[in-house]
Structure formats: structure tokens, C-alpha cells
């Protein structure tokens, strides 16, 4: 039985690795369709990654081990997080090893090393990107924790598995607190995955970039790993949102048929979520950098309101 559940865990990781570029490709395709442009299809990210893997790595002369190590760390930790979030089944052996707080911490490790690598080469852009990223992190992480805590209050646990089980298989209750938490989570989602209105994933203007500025010096397989990890991060944040706020259909057992059904439902949910993401992105401009404090401040406030309303109303 143990072997079987590890096989399911492996299946989830495989799904994460393979489906993440497709999801990113889907978001880009919808975005292009929305603006009347044509696009290379949802499989373009795979081709990009494959191309980058065949390219030579150009390293700056003064690059230290941090710079070379960071892409592998980012990739590895992202896959690890993918093992914790229960999106094809709640009966995952890894899911029991870490709760939400550990999950946020793992994201912080990625961020810490990316910021260090950004400063490692010593270019002005890398340093600017790192300082901006840390400013955003200090505001986004509390908001994220607050939003998830609100849900964990309902589940009486910070374990993701437990939260999903209570939400999906427990008694259905209308919870106003979750509405607040969901709004906050969406705002944090846009921040963490570097999308408009916080960052522009497709910009090539050196001075406005945040995430791209930190990874500006990367090339070849290093860049491929970082890009791939970025796509997985988008995938994980989306599936985490689905798992916490809309978990219906995630099977509680490792019955293969239930997992296939749950997987199909997940694909539909992700497709819809992709469209919602694009709608937000298309209808808005990128914010001025120092307005982000207000934006993330309101995300935190919404999450706090969610928590308060849990105690008052539920």
C-alpha cells in the first residue's frame, strides 16, 4: 500500500513537471487571443525550454557558486513544494511531512537564493531586482499566511491535506471568511507569480523588471531550469488556490479511477482559472512600484478581515 501511494506521489510530480509548461502556454494563448494576436500554441513553452537546454551557458567572470547553484536549488525546491500540495489526491505521503507554514518557508528559500544570485554578478539591474523582490516579499508573505490561516481555522489544522478534506468532504457551509481570504489569495497569487499589475512577465525594459531583472544574467540550461521552475510556481499557486478554495473533486483515496476523474476536473478548473488570470491582466496596467505597498497592504487587510469574520460569524 505504501508503495502504491508513493507511486501516486510520483505521478503527481510527473504531472507537475509536464503540465506546468502547458498551463503557462495556455495562459499565454488566451492572452494573445484576447488581444487579437496569433500565438504559437500551448506547447511553445516546451519548445523554449528544450531550446534553452541545448544552448551554451555563459557565466560572468565573477560568478560565484551561489550563481551556479541557484537554478538547481530553485528547480529542486519547486518540485519539492509540488509534492506537498495535494492536487490529485489528499492521500499523499509527502503531504503529511509539511504544512502551510513550511510551504511558505520553502518559497522564501527560493526567493532568498534568487535574490542572492541577482546580486552575485554585481550588475545594477540584478541588485535593483533583488531589492524590489525583497520589498515585495516582506509584504506578500504575511498576506499569504494570513489568507491561508483563515482557511486553516475552518479546518482546525495547518495541514493542507486536512484543510482540503474538511472543505471537500465535510459538511458544506457558506463561509464569508473564505470570500475575503480568496480575494487576498488572488492578489498574492498575482504578486508571487510576477504578473500584472505587480510585474510584467513579458517586459524587456530593464529598469521596470522585478523578477526578470534578477535572472537577467542567466543563460542556457540555468535559464531553462529557472523558467521551468517559474512555470511550475504558477501551476503550484494555481493548484494550491484550487485545493484550498475549490477542492471539490480531489479524491480522498488513491483509487485510480477517482484520480483520473479528479485530474480531468482539475484540468477544467485550471483552464477556467487561466482565463480569469488573463482577464485580470488584460484589464489592468502595471502599477507604479511604490503603489505596491498599498496593493499588498489591502491584501493583508482583506485576509485579516476574513479571519475576524470567522470568529464573529462562524
Amino acid at each position: 500500500m505504501i508503495v502504491y501511494s508513493f507511486a501516486i506521489e510520483a505521478l503527481q510530480l510527473l504531472l507537475l513537471l509536464l503540465a506546468a509548461p502547458a498551463f503557462a502556454g495556455w495562459v499565454r494563448t488566451v492572452k494573445c487571443r484576447m488581444q487579437g494576436r496569433s500565438y504559437a500554441g500551448i506547447f511553445q513553452p516546451y519548445r523554449d525550454i528544450a531550446r534553452l537546454f541545448t544552448k551554451e551557458v555563459i557565466l560572468a567572470e565573477n560568478a560565484s557558486w551561489i550563481f551556479r547553484f541557484t537554478p538547481y536549488l530553485v528547480f529542486g525546491v519547486t518540485v519539492m513544494i509540488g509534492g506537498i500540495v495535494p492536487f490529485i489526491s489528499t492521500d499523499l505521503p509527502f503531504a503529511a511531512t509539511a504544512d502551510v507554514i513550511a510551504l511558505v518557508m520553502l518559497f522564501a528559500i527560493i526567493r532568498f537564493f534568487t535574490a542572492l544570485a541577482g546580486m552575485d554578478i554585481g550588475t545594477a539591474f540584478g541588485g535593483m531586482g533583488s531589492s524590489r523582490e525583497m520589498m515585495i516579499a516582506s509584504l506578500a508573505e504575511p498576506a499569504m499566511l494570513m489568507a491561508i490561516f483563515t482557511v486553516s481555522l475552518a479546518g482546525n489544522s495547518t495541514s493542507l491535506t486536512r484543510m482540503v478534506q474538511v472543505m471537500a468532504h465535510g459538511e458544506f457551509v457558506i463561509r464569508p471568511s473564505l470570500a475575503f481570504a480568496l480575494l487576498a489569495y488572488i492578489m498574492v497569487h498575482l504578486t508571487e507569480t510576477g504578473r500584472i499589475p505587480v510585474d510584467n512577465p513579458s517586459t524587456h525594459l530593464e529598469l521596470t523588471m522585478i523578477h526578470e531583472a534578477m535572472i537577467l544574467e542567466y543563460s542556457g540550461r540555468h535559464l531553462a531550469l529557472i523558467e521551468w521552475a517559474g512555470q511550475m510556481k504558477l501551476f503550484i499557486f494555481s493548484t494550491l488556490g484550487i485545493a484550498v478554495f475549490c477542492p471539490w473533486g480531489i479524491p480522498a483515496s488513491n483509487d485510480l479511477l477517482a484520480i483520473i476523474g479528479g485530474g480531468a476536473l482539475l484540468a477544467v478548473k485550471l483552464a477556467v482559472l487561466g482565463v480569469i488570470l488573463v482577464l485580470i491582466e488584460t484589464g489592468m496596467a502595471k502599477m507604479r512600484l511604490f503603489r505596491l505597498t498599498e496593493y499588498l497592504g489591502s491584501a493583508f487587510l482583506l485576509a485579516t478581515l476574513g479571519m475576524l469574520s470567522f470568529f464573529i460569524l462562524e
Binding site: G36, R37, L207, A285, F290
Partner: protein, 506 residues
């Protein structure tokens, strides 16, 4: 007490005998330039011509009531700088020093403009760095000292596909204290190549001063040649030139509005305007077969006529483009997140704009009424012209709104002209250029006032042909706009000016 007495005044496009501009003493020349710029005149062009054992200095001033003025003096090796009392002379003085190998005493920021070789070969005799061409952006930059001040260098190779230029920021965190711009990477030796002309290649060379201002520079050159030859293009040719110039304005304003939207990450307008810009370029192609209007203008008129069928086609395309353009721009104005981003970004105060002598939309967006089409009308604009528009504020918002207002005015103007094209030929024979003449042409290109000046020798060849793109004035405006601005807003401010690198580098 007015200093206008020392000026020889004339009209835009007119050629006057060189001897009508008396050579005055250097002191009177400089004092005159300083006084006149304080009395409503502004420097349209200021350059040196290697002459005898020294350099003849020419200053072309643009005044009110359609008057242009010329001042001439002569200097051997060095002259005092007037930049401190007349900031708009700043880049002109540096250019003179670089081109003619002169030294300017007490110039506040004396360094090369384009890192080019001096104009004349006689430079070797002067023995100052003979023959060695300096590399662009090599040298000292303005520095702000302090533990928390850091320097950010951007370019000349940029992450996007744009022209090369080097930007040096002095920053405190995200705030910019000072921006210095170093250009010259695209210097092609244009003015050097033009001397001794007009050659058969001259028109083509001037069409490529700045690719996006092909019509503007070609118009100015045609005016120079017509002035020197004493010919006048036929009315139909004048009308077609005006249509082409306004189409160029439309295409670029439209592209800029799209690019502004792209810089703040507002994707719908970016995508739409990018496409609609192509529609306007295609309309120019209907006229002459080239999307940028290459080969359309020639001294004497236009090389191509516009048949009834073409006119109908253009009117139909214009109507379609107007509808799409309005829709795309209304999306932009209707989006609060874009408006907060534009509002207050990259502000230039009107007094700074006046002192730096900004031209074109950059000046009009500071509420300054300055438009060559109205102030020094040329060609068809003597009869009819689009209304002058200004916007208060001097920020990115004002420059964006002004672009849309000017686009509307141009759409209206083109529509009217196409519906009432004068009959007759489009080209009249343009004879040989007269000798010993000074000809000046000002044209309101889409970036603002561009100025061509030609001085001919006894045989009617160009002794000097001076080209000034509006970017020459406006780069200083961009540097001012960035003061105390967030560095992350630089791309947005830069795009709101959208200046030419190659037009500056010549």
C-alpha cells in the same frame, strides 16, 4: 532697448544673399544671441563653418510673426560660452566645439556631443588629438557623491529592439537624482557627406536622417532647394506634401500611444495601436509605394501624383483607421489603472521647457504654444493648417493626450485635403541653386521643429548643410523629466518623448 537691429530677418524657406548678413564682432554676436533669446526669439540652429583660418559662426533665430533671423560672426580658436545665460545654446555650443575644433571658455559641461571627428581636414594642423576618433560614452559622467548614492548604467545595448544610446543614472534607492545621456553610436558623417552638394544622393541621404521622419526631413530639404532655385511647387504638390507629413505624424503618434500602453503593461491598446500604425504607414505606401514615404518628395514638388482611385482608397482607409484608432485610445482613457500611471509621471515644468528650448509635442504638452505650422507656415500650411493644440501639466499624461488630440486634428486635416485636392501638376522644374546664398527651412515634423540650413559657395554648391532634428533640443527635456522620478518609470518617460537617436547622431 531691442537688439533686433543687428538681425537680418527673412521668412521660412526663403534664401537670402550671404552678404546681406553682415559679419559682426564676436562680442556683439554673443551678446545679441543672449539678448534676443530673452526677447521671444529662440535658437533654431547655431553652427560653425570652417572659414579662412578660423570658423564662421552662424546663429539662426526663430521669432514671432513668421520672422527668422540670422547672425554671423567669425572666431579663430576660442570663444566664451553663453550657455550659463542661455541654456538652450548648451548642446549647440558643444557641437560647434566638436565639429570645428574650437574651445569654449567657461562652458558648464564641456564634453563631446557625438564623439565624432571634426568636420574639416585642417584639424590636423591644429594638433589637438588629430585623427583619433573618440569612442562614444567614454569619459567622465556627472557623479553624485555619497555612500547611499549608486550609479546605474543602461545601454548602449538594450533588452528591447531599439536604437543604441547610453544612459547614466545617479540614484538614491529607486529615486533618480540625475540622468546623463550619451549618444553618438549611430554617427554616420552625414553633414560631412552633404558638403559640396547637392549630389544625386543628397535627397536620399536626407530622407534617412531619421527613418521615422522621412517626410519631415525630405520636406525641409525640398524647401531649401526650392528656395535656392527660386521655384515654387505647384499647389497640388504642396497639398500632397502636407498630407504625407500629417500621415507620418499620425503613424508615429499612434505607434507611440500603443508603446506607452505597452510600457505600463496595458496590453489591449498596445496590440491594437501597433496594428493601426501599420494601417497609416500603408496609406503612405498607397501614395508612393514606400511605407515610410521614401521617394515621395523631390525638390519642385512630389514625385508621385494621387489619382482619383487612390484618393478614394485613401479616404476609405482613413475612415477605417480613424474608427479603430478611436476605439483603441478610448480603451486607454477608460482604464483607471493606466491613468494613475500616466498622471504626474515625468513632469517638465513650463519654465524649464522654455529655458531648454523644447519643441514639438514635448513643448506643447507643457502648455507652450509652439508649432512651426502656425508660427512659420510653410508649403500648404500657409493656406490652411490643423489647429494648434496644447495640454497643461508637462507629464506623461499631457504628452499622451496631446498625441491623441494632434492625431484627431491630423485626421480631420487629411480628410479635408483629400476631398479638395487642387488640380494641376504635382511637380515644377527646380533649377540650379543660386550661389552665395543662405537658405533656412523649418518644418514641424511629428517630433517637433526640424531645421535645415544651407550656405552655398559662388558655384551654388553647399559650403555647409546643417541638419537639426527636434531630438537635439528635446533630449535635455527627457533628462529634466527624470529628476526625482522613480527609475522604474524611465522607460515610460522615454517613450512619452520618443526621441530619435540617429536623428541626433547624424
Amino acid at each position: 532697448m531691442s537688439s533686433e537691429g543687428i538681425l537680418r530677418t527673412f521668412r521660412n524657406g526663403e534664401a537670402i544673399p550671404v552678404r546681406d548678413v553682415p559679419e559682426i564682432a564676436l562680442h556683439a554676436f554673443l551678446q545679441g544671441a543672449v539678448d534676443l533669446t530673452g526677447q521671444g526669439w529662440r535658437i533654431a540652429s547655431y553652427f560653425g563653418v570652417p572659414d579662412r583660418e578660423g570658423v564662421a559662426l552662424w546663429c539662426i533665430l526663430a521669432g514671432s510673426q513668421g520672422r527668422l533671423g540670422a547672425l554671423r560672426s567669425w572666431v579663430e580658436r576660442q570663444l566664451p560660452s553663453i550657455t550659463s545665460s542661455c541654456p538652450e545654446a548648451h548642446l549647440f555650443e558643444r557641437e560647434i566645439a566638436e565639429q570645428c575644433g574650437l574651445t569654449l571658455e567657461e562652458h558648464p559641461w564641456f564634453k563631446p556631443v557625438r564623439y565624432q571627428r571634426p568636420l574639416r581636414r585642417a584639424h590636423e594642423e591644429r594638433g589637438s588629438g588629430a585623427g583619433v576618433q573618440p569612442l562614444p560614452a567614454v569619459g567622465d559622467f556627472y557623479r553624485v557623491e555619497g555612500a547611499e548614492v549608486h550609479e546605474v548604467a543602461v545601454g548602449p545595448v538594450h533588452a528591447g529592439v531599439i536604437e543604441p544610446g547610453h544612459f547614466r543614472f545617479q540614484c538614491h534607492g529607486e529615486v533618480v537624482f540625475h540622468l546623463e545621456i550619451a549618444l553618438g553610436y549611430q554617427h554616420r558623417g552625414l553633414e560631412h557627406a552633404l558638403a559640396g552638394g547637392p549630389h544625386p544622393a543628397t535627397v536620399v541621404q536626407l530622407e534617412t536622417v531619421a527613418g521615422d521622419t522621412t517626410i519631415g526631413h525630405a520636406t525641409a530639404h525640398a524647401m531649401i532647394m526650392e528656395g535656392l532655385a527660386g521655384t515654387e511647387p505647384p499647389p497640388r504638390g504642396e497639398a500632397l506634401r502636407a498630407i504625407a507629413l500629417e500621415l507620418e505624424r499620425l503613424a508615429n503618434h499612434c505607434g507611440d500611444l500603443g508603446a506607452l500602453a505597452g510600457d505600463v503593461g496595458y496590453l489591449p491598446t498596445m496590440s491594437f495601436c501597433g496594428r493601426i500604425r501599420g494601417d497609416f504607414l500603408n496609406m503612405t505606401a498607397v501614395l508612393c509605394g514606400s511605407r515610410f514615404g521614401r521617394g515621395l518628395l523631390r525638390p519642385g514638388g512630389t514625385y508621385f501624383d494621387c489619382s482619383a482611385g487612390q484618393t478614394a482608397d485613401l479616404l476609405k482607409r482613413l475612415e477605417e483607421a480613424r474608427r479603430d484608432y478611436s476605439g483603441a485610445v478610448e480603451l486607454l482613457w477608460g482604464s483607471p489603472s493606466v491613468m494613475t500611471r500616466f498622471d504626474g509621471a515625468g513632469q517638465v515644468r513650463p519654465e524649464d521647457a522654455l529655458a531648454l528650448g523644447l519643441v514639438g509635442p514635448a513643448a506643447r504638452a507643457c502648455g507652450i504654444e509652439r508649432d512651426v505650422r502656425r508660427d512659420h507656415p510653410f508649403g500648404f500650411y500657409r493656406i490652411s493648417r490643423p489647429p494648434l493644440r496644447t495640454q497643461p501639466g508637462g507629464d506623461v499624461m499631457a504628452r499622451a493626450k496631446l498625441r491623441w488630440q494632434e492625431s484627431q486634428a491630423s485626421l480631420e486635416f487629411i480628410h479635408d485635403r483629400l476631398n479638395s485636392l487642387p488640380e494641376g501638376p504635382v511637380m515644377s522644374a527646380c533649377g540650379a541653386a543660386a550661389g552665395e546664398r543662405l537658405a533656412v527651412a523649418l518644418v514641424e515634423g511629428w517630433r517637433g521643429e526640424l531645421c535645415h540650413v544651407a550656405i552655398t559657395d559662388a558655384a551654388g554648391r553647399f559650403l555647409r548643410y546643417k541638419v537639426k532634428d527636434p531630438s537635439f533640443h528635446n533630449w535635455s527635456g527627457l533628462a529634466m523629466a527624470l529628476r526625482n522620478e522613480q527609475i522604474s518609470d524611465f522607460p515610460l518617460c522615454n517613450k512619452s518623448f520618443n526621441l530619435s537617436y540617429c536623428g541626433f547622431d547624424l
